[in-house]
Symmetry: D2
Subunit: 408 residues, 4 copies
């Protein structure tokens, strides 16, 4: 029914594709996937693997490409100079931010050329902003990354993972200097950004700053992210503004989160497994996102290649083709018709997987957690950037505070 590859589509730019009605599929979460593969350290979450282990980064890009990603984001998350030298992480000294960013661009482009994917250069929030540095200082940091993106000629720019719309506006201002299309996504929920700006107002401010695409990424599950984007869409409509919408949520269920998202969950980042979405839950997400009018649909932390493939399979009819990796995945589990056991062959049908509510397998687990709520925001001393590693005394202080806050 579908073509496996779409030779007929010439490599067009992002805005042309969106304008023509194409559904753009993003990629998944690099830091979480590569942490599990052994190439990224949880805590700093910085992407020096682009220099240290390029084959691992390349392989992950390739898996997302095969899974259906139209866009490959450079693995430049948290690759700003101030983040690369924060709290005992000495990447900037050992490798340099410039090299990390350059390698990221080279790898992404190399793999993008294996298909007809676009390369997006990405920047994200900075410790400098949290430490209350000036607009000039923060913009200078973004500009260093942008210089690389321009030199390497990425296809468009993405400012993502911002908790404060103000910092995202600054990022958009800088990225616009490139003359390329710019998207901007905040990691906020329906309550708005951490400074109290509503989701609708955030969208309006980002579009006014120059973003052609706006939306949310990370911090919340698909259901919550779509709620937030709906508020953004309504905000834009009320302001008579137009923009394409992007969704790149977590692949973790987070019904119990508060304003700051999954960072606050007790399970973050090392015990989130039971919350991972199945591929069938991704089908529902993809459909709901499409129905809401979102045309750039991807994922963030927790999204593995098979999650992206599920999005591409759900929207295969709309897009006119299946992803390459579907050669290894018949629709809705129908490949199980080849299974040895007859009761597993009986699961080779959409009706089975669509209705299944999976058991947790964890009878000693509750279904919801009470998130941490330290009430710490921009300007708090505990958020100030610190080049040196956290000291024993600082840690003890944290441990004590944890006991008090959690009431243990």
């Amino acid at each position: 029914m579908f073509l496996w590859l779409r030779h007929e589509i010439l490599l067009q730019g992002l805005l042309e594709r969106l304008a023509s009605g194409e559904v753009i599929i993003g990629d998944g979460g690099f830091v979480f996937a590569l942490e599990k593969r052994g190439y990224v350290k949880a805590g700093p979450w910085t992407p020096e693997a682009t220099v240290e282990y390029p084959e691992a980064v390349r392989q992950l890009h390739r898996e997302f490409l095969r899974a259906g990603s139209t866009v490959l984001q450079t693995f430049t998350f948290y690759a700003s100079d101030d983040k690369l030298q924060n709290r005992g992480n000495y990447v900037e000294q050992k490798i340099s931010g410039q090299k990390v960013n350059e390698a990221a661009c080279d790898i992404a482009r190399e793999v993008a050329n294996e298909g007809d994917a676009l390369v997006a250069g990405g920047v994200s929030q900075t410790p400098s902003y949290l430490s209350c540095k000036s607009e000039t200082d923060v913009k200078a940091i973004f500009r260093k990354q942008l210089d690389v993106f321009i030199k390497k000629n990425v296809d468009f720019m993405l400012a993502e993972y911002f908790e404060h719309v103000e910092e995202a506006e600054w990022a958009v201002h800088v990225l616009k200097e490139s003359g390329k299309p710019v998207g901007a996504t905040l990691c906020i929920g329906p309550e708005g950004d951490l400074a109290g700006v509503s989701a609708g107002d955030c969208a309006v401010r980002l579009v006014k700053a120059g973003a052609e695409l706006v939306g949310v990424n990370c911090h919340f599950d698909p259901t919550t992210c779509l709620k937030t984007i709906k508020l953004m869409k309504e905000g834009l409509e009320a302001a008579h503004l137009k923009a394409y919408l992007i969704a790149q949520p977590l692949a973790y269920h987070t019904p119990d989160c508060n304003k700051q998202g999954f960072i606050d969950l007790p399970e973050f980042p090392f015990a989130l497994e039971p919350r991972i979405l199945t591929r069938w839950e991704m089908h529902k997400y993809a459909r709901a996102a499409y129905d809401l009018g979102i045309r750039y649909i991807g994922g963030c932390c927790g999204f593995e290649p098979y999650h992206i493939r599920a999005i591409a399979e759900e929207l295969a009819a709309e897009r006119g083709f299946l992803p390459v990796a579907s050669e290894k995945h018949d629709a809705w589990g129908s490949g199980l018709a080849m299974h040895t056991k007859p009761w597993v062959r009986a699961r080779a049908q959409q009706a089975y997987w669509e209705k299944l509510v999976p058991a947790s397998g964890r009878p000693y687990s509750a279904s919801l957690s009470k998130p941490d709520s330290w009430g710490v925001t921009r300007g708090d001393k505990d958020l100030i950037q610190q080049k040196e590693i956290t000291t024993e005394n600082q840690l003890k202080e944290m441990f004590e505070k944890q006991k008090i806050v959690s009431g243990m």
Copy 2:
């Protein structure tokens, strides 16, 4: 405290290492990991990716090596000729079983040489046995794989994933012809094999057949597998037999399984996510396995590189070194001391992760499932090998039976 690499250990054989007291760490599950990455099809679960996508197989081997695996198993699961041409899977015609097995050996050896790992050539249960073919026929199938293993000079042999001890004995007989050490693991639970042979008797029969290592792999979670291995150990002691013990369980919680393991769970294979073990649960598994006297500790389906790393980290003191991938993972989450948010830094401690019981994040999910119990065993017509793909009519029959058995 620990050395990152163990330059001092000369490359010795498996039995020498075990005799010297070394704890051997196995690798994780290839078919499930590569299915998620887009290179293996669920249903047939066959490993033709060794020929089609060698770089993807190589990368996964490398990740396990970095995570601490002392053994790399050739990706030859279900690579017997009869399985490669079962129910519409035409690998044997397109590529040939010999090429799949040869490529698997080459890739495993290539990566093993990047560290000091051993290569194990693996065979698993066959459709022929389930179809009641003769001992001679079944052995001929194993011998075809063995020919490749001998030619490629793998370090030892592993017969794994057998539901019937009789077929595993046949496999051991064949593999012994190589003169190399032979290990054998069944995918059984504490109730014994599918023909009703007790776990203790299974172990005795496998050792008598010539296996130097015995144990279990797949089908059940670590807790259940260790229960089964304890029964095997007691069986061997009662029979005054000696053998090394192997554990390679699932990385999925399966408290609700019956005799046939996770295959019967309604969530198999596409909705097992909430059951995935965390790395901290792997620490507990590694410690319990070690305390039970098991000295070959690895994993099967669901085990990702970070799960293997957790085993290697738990046993770092006993083994005298940490795995390479621990450069990206400070013990017990202590890398979180570098996190931006103070309440996450407060989680940089063993006490936090050791006690945490993760929420499922799934308030509409139960914690246990009722497994399918079709009561179908060897010889049943629905288990007979069939070269052609399952027909529409056969599928309808299965769907009807499912409705009746599950009472829906």
Copy 3:
């Protein structure tokens, strides 16, 4: 520390008691408790047991009195003439509404005289209102009950369990004719009444109609009810109005309810057991209600005598005495010091029970349900009063609609 009985308090009226700062404790749920005891039929939920089985009604009143109730409500819930002859329930023909109401008053007064409790005459929402009868008609129905309350000289009036504030206003108008104090509680959640009036506006309208006490009862758990009452309180403050606040929530956890409360939960009314609050959860409710400024604290469906006792024990310091039934209940489980088993004696402490999160004991149950949402409101044909019992055809129609709405 506390006096067991409070001989010093003279029998004063409700408003005098409240004005003096006394915390009034309501009683619990009669229809649910007597249904389980075998004296009330679920479905019609009418109180003809006052005539048929007065000793059973008397006993339940007495248990609540002993547990600490300051108020005994006449068991006249759904004792309006139109409800007593609805859908095949022929109480009105067999006994007459007047007799049911009179017997209720007599029994409540008899037991109230055993302590120093007040008697409240209660009316609740009518099928006539749902059937769009006129204000005059609906008021006439309330007036018939009021005539009995006046004749029997109850101490004050309570209009409770109204889903529409308009009908509650009409009830207050009628009850005010008595010259006695009047309280009014709606069975609404934070979203407001079923006609879309906000909780704050509901409170304002009820006070303007003449109610001296306002609040909520039934339909939601304590947590949700307190949220609603907080909104009511804020509404009154904004309108510069004053009233005492009443809370009489369910004793069932209902985190998954929508606007219409527990009626919509699939478990209503015969499978609510796992949702029943423990006594310790009642301690938390009582404290939270008190802290919010509520001074009339009781319960509705699901509240058994021991739940009311828990409220009275939590507020014993504030009130200066314990309830009589505490002779059989030492504070915070300390009576367990008399238990035979030492590990149960170890539970004789507040710290143990305060922290315990009880397991459900139901591994095949989810924690939340999806409520029915038929979207049927006042005026819908399915809500029209019908004297005759529901016909087979009508039932079939309902069953069909259920299948469609629930997607089964």
Copy 4:
């Protein structure tokens, strides 16, 4: 279809009724029900309410009679002299054991005469046995209660709630002196009694001691109790012995219990609410018990009158009549056809309630608990009877031990 009352059955003795094929229905749990109503103290759990509050005891008997109980047990649980003066409980001094037992007999007979029920005089395990007193001493204690039962002419005797079969044998020996039928039930699970005697052997020993009925009561949920009784039945068959079988399980789900039953669960006794069985779960229990050949089917702690009614309704066809209380309960929820809301009327059908798996309503609760396992058995100093109340120091010691055992 069924007669409401069974005027045709003449008042016959227990054995005659059983011999004629009648299904005897027991009553429910008095100590737990009356604790919630305010008349029994948790901890000592003694029945002095027979003297103090006879109307409350009478009312509960009456509710069980109406619900379908063929037998009313005297409320003499833990009414042995040594238990009445244990650990600060001074009932023996204030009232005397004899009066408590006499009043219990009088009340039970009075209510039994309102129907055609039998009265069973009951004894249960003693602190003296746990304190290693002699057979003579322990038997003397039972004999004091028996003297009352003989004087009051109860219809038969029941030795129930014994953790050690030896003590139960002693009780049977004594009760046999009456010449009346004797039943005996242990509070054990499938693992056997606390001294390690298997369930099958327990049954054999009780029948050999003279019991005409044997089975289990309390400590475990219906599913577990039926497993145990099945083992007892098989033990009797193997020994070529005959006896009637009794089941009187908890009305609490206890899938997570170990050998000592629900006493060990952290929720015992004040947080068991989420584990309470629904009436529909009782239907399943009654059917399974009947199918196993049990002909005396009742309940223990947690059983309220509506649970007993569910048993009587499930077995109405076999017994030929419905219980009196079914006048207020149409089969399988069909009374909901009279409900105001149409979506609740749609629940007036067996198919709905039979399939419903109720949500817990508790997203912060796990489904299973880890039971206390102190390993304390008969003869341990902490189990020795002690007339005086537990001292502060003794309690502190317990609290400390709890911390150690639970690892907190």
